[in-house]
Symmetry: C2
Subunit: 162 residues, 2 copies
């Protein structure tokens, strides 16, 4: 079972692929397959960014062949402008997953934090350390968006106890 | 010069195509070519809606061969949840336009109202009546989302004085 986690954004969109062996969901049972970001230089027109996300997402899925997708759900109270641009990227990401007939699961940032660390107000550093432990990695994956995407993928594995 | 106007939304997405002859932008000089909506039943999963918008947008562009696209810009202060879903649809619409190498122009609802009627707080009825007059139509195009999309297309023609 391969899970593709996504941390959506128009300027920088994180992705992370993990693999679960059998039904073992103990820490360290998941293996990191791939992670990274789809990013475009500052001031790149929105249309170009969305096209880049579309093409890159197809490549990532063709390369890693995930079985399901876990994506951060939009849940915001503060920065509406950022929220709009994240939603535009999310629309394209969800489209590509549908074109590959991949089931899509959505988790709010709080659900991800709570599932990963045990409480909903964990900070970025604690989250990243849990990603490292879960996947038995020597170092925390960089940049943050790639680690966040892996956290989304791990959350799906823990929430569903494969 | 053909302009495709879009009123984005995930549940219902309006479109309208107008044609301008020469450089004449007097009222009635623009001709209505096509209009309608891309709509899905209530409770259709978001991924299906976005895929439907993607496929339908390609069909609409292939059929009508517009030269430019005019799309309503997101500008909201009240309903954030609606705003997110509109942005997800916008992401897919802008992607498809980019795949056809169409220039994309964005106008806020206020810019559209002001350009169409002369003031930014015009109501829906006044706007629709102006769409009807501009395009020399006997009746106001239905549903509202199709009329709104035509208003976006007309706004681009008036703002740019082709």
């Amino acid at each position: 079972m391969r899970i593709l986690g996504i941390d959506p954004g128009t300027g920088i969109c994180g992705f992370g692929v993990i693999e679960l062996k059998g039904s073992d969901t103990l820490r360290g049972a998941a293996k990191m397959i791939d992670n990274g970001v789809i990013s475009t230089p500052p001031n790149t027109p929105l249309a170009e960014r969305l096209e880049d996300i579309y093409n890159s997402m197809h490549e990532i899925i063709n390369l890693n062949k995930p079985d399901v997708v876990s994506i951060e759900k939009l849940f915001f109270t503060k920065n509406i402008t950022t929220g709009i641009s994240v939603a535009e990227a999310r629309g394209v990401v969800i489209l590509v997953c549908k074109q590959h007939n991949l089931p899509i699961f959505e988790y709010t940032p709080n659900e991800i934090k709570k599932t990963m660390t045990g409480y909903g107000s964990a900070d970025k550093k604690q989250m990243q350390e849990m990603v490292r432990l879960h996947l038995n990695l020597k170092e925390i994956p960089k940049p943050d968006d790639a680690a966040d995407a892996l956290a989304a993928a791990i959350t799906h594995s823990l929430m569903n106890r494969f």
